[in-house]
């Protein structure tokens, strides 16, 4: 994608909105410069691009996203990673062959993509668990000089920790980073990373009250900006676990009931069975009875109005 390609996108949107070049350029650049930018990569100023985008009523971020994910024909990198992260493979078959050969411009993103490819291959028994773990160790070694601030790297380390949870040093530094990090940047990979770490922490020795609280709060804060049903479901589990740690039974029951109802919707078959077993083991509950009790309470609340048929 060249800089002049971004200008071609500006022009596509201009045409879609029936705006003349003259009207678009007025007060920003000359028409001659506008057309020159579409064929030459030299001397293109980002502020000019931003001003033209603003005049068209779009943000520069939307334009970049449009160019990367829509116009170009989205190769599906983020979508693939997301599908592997949530372990949902309905539409992954079309993406997987592309991801095997895909080379991302960014070195760290390339490693992250490869890690998710390996994880998927492990899930579908294309490689063994040992091979997957070997890759994770190799990846950690390749990137040991790089900081957690590179979001692809922190995400790789979160995936590594899911299989090597005893690596306390990596865990501690990653926890510290996630709690303090600014999630305005690298949002998606931070979301994946925190989701992985919290999943690791539920009902294991790695969870201290403080760590679970801080990381859950961070996760929930991120979901305020971009609420997402699957991660929202997980946040209920993480919150429930925190309530268990602090013996807050009232909030625990409500949160678990909601979690279970989401689980019934979103997860099926063997994965559902595994999750139910996890729920019963960690919380020692009958989820159906808990849900019935919670539902009865809800129907009696002021939110629900019962009318005659």
């Amino acid at each position: 994608m060249t800089y002049s390609d971004y200008f071609k996108i500006i022009d596509e949107i201009r045409l879609a909105k029936n705006i003349t070049v003259s009207d678009l350029c007025e007060g920003i650049i000359s028409e001659r410069t506008y057309f020159r930018h579409m064929i030459s990569n030299k001397g293109i100023k980002f502020d000019v691009f931003s001003k033209l985008a603003k005049k068209l009523g779009v943000t520069s971020e939307e334009l970049v996203h449009y160019s990367v994910f829509v116009r170009k024909g989205d190769p599906g990198v983020t979508r693939f990673m997301y599908r592997v992260q949530v372990k949902h493979f309905d539409d992954i078959a079309e993406l997987y062959p592309i991801m095997i050969d895909y080379k991302h411009d960014n070195y760290e993103m390339n490693l992250l993509l490869k890690t998710y490819v390996k994880k998927y291959q492990y899930y579908i028994n294309k490689i063994s668990y040992v091979e997957y773990k070997e890759w994770l160790k190799e990846c950690l070694n390749l990137t040991k000089e790089l900081t957690n601030e590179i979001d692809a790297i922190s995400n790789i380390r979160a995936l590594y920790l899911q299989e090597f949870s005893d690596d306390v040093q990596v865990l501690d530094t990653l926890l510290d980073y996630y709690v303090k990090s600014n999630h305005s940047i690298g949002f998606t990979f931070k979301l994946f990373g925190i989701d992985s770490i919290l999943s690791l922490m539920v009902n294991t020795k790695y969870s201290t009250v403080e760590n679970v609280k801080l990381l859950s709060e961070k996760f929930n804060e991120m979901l305020l900006r971009f609420d997402h049903k699957y991660f929202s479901m997980n946040s209920l589990l993480f919150s429930a676990y925190y309530y268990k740690l602090i013996d807050d039974f009232e909030n625990l029951e409500e949160t678990l009931a909601k979690y279970y109802l989401n689980l019934r919707l979103m997860i099926g078959y063997e994965d559902y069975d595994l999750k139910i077993m996890q729920l019963k083991t960690i919380f020692n509950i009958d989820p159906v009875e808990l849900l019935k009790k919670y539902s009865e309470k809800q129907f009696k609340s002021s939110k629900f109005i019962l009318k005659n048929s």
Partner: protein, 330 residues
Amino acid sequence: MRRTMMNYNSKRDDTRFIIDYLDQIRAERKISIKDFTDKVMSVRNYTRLLNKEAAISFEALSLFLEKLSVPLFDFGGYLRNSKIYENLDIVNFVNTAGQEDYETAYKEYYTPIKDKLENPPIMKKLLPISVAMMEYKLNMSTKYESIDKIKSVLQLSSIISSKVLFSEDLDALGFYMLICNDEAKTLIGEYLYKVLFNKKTKILTGTVELSTIQVHLNAIMALTRRETIPNRDHKKIYRIFKSFLEYDKKAKMAIWDYLVFRDMKDYNMKCNIKDDLITYHYISSVISIRDSNKISDDIILNQNDIDVYYDLLKDEEFARESMYERLIKS
């Protein structure tokens, strides 16, 4: 040293925040300006950028982002998120109005945003539209005054004739449908139906899957909330609904799925259709929502609805099925 700058009139430029955000990332990562600018430009030129005496080029921006290992699309997301955090008052107002909780929007969020109404830094369409809706709902203006204000901002004919659907327009349509007449709803519904199935219109947004789900939601809302629904639209409505189920099964994104099930349940009632699965999903989507404050409307049920819900709760086979499996098959 490559030429990466030009002099410009800083009074005309309001995009200079880009360099500020770039520098913020540099500072957060504790990279010195000297190291940051090495092989890109001189420290002096970088300082000129920071002082807004010059503008950054695409080339320089790309080189800096490469040094930070930040892909361009991620930087774009960072700009957007940063703007949101700087204008949380506007975001909170629009979101609260969007949940149709106009009283809270007015009491808690209206005063801080009043000064920004003339030239909002973000949500240039959504803010005036949500204010107009609030004024109507709180009897501060008549319905027609609010409709006029909304129409002048929305420019519906321009949206529905465009080959690109912008995310703010999509949100704005959602607001407009709460107040417009059947004719407008039909126009919007037909347009969104084409967006979904014609594929000639591209959706321009930061989150394609989320926006696609929103298109489904708005399309169902537009077509089912009319006073009179022609029989010929029945197939269309169900096609959109099935498409929503199949799409969200893959994306698992829709936290406001209860709106879809609510509209489908109401539509079924109008057509005297009994559908237990829709009833169950409506109730469970309300009960399971993480933040119940997001649902501002009352949930009206009868005893039969509640019985259906409890019956399906007991169904172990149903519990184990994959997302919307039974609904999609039915």
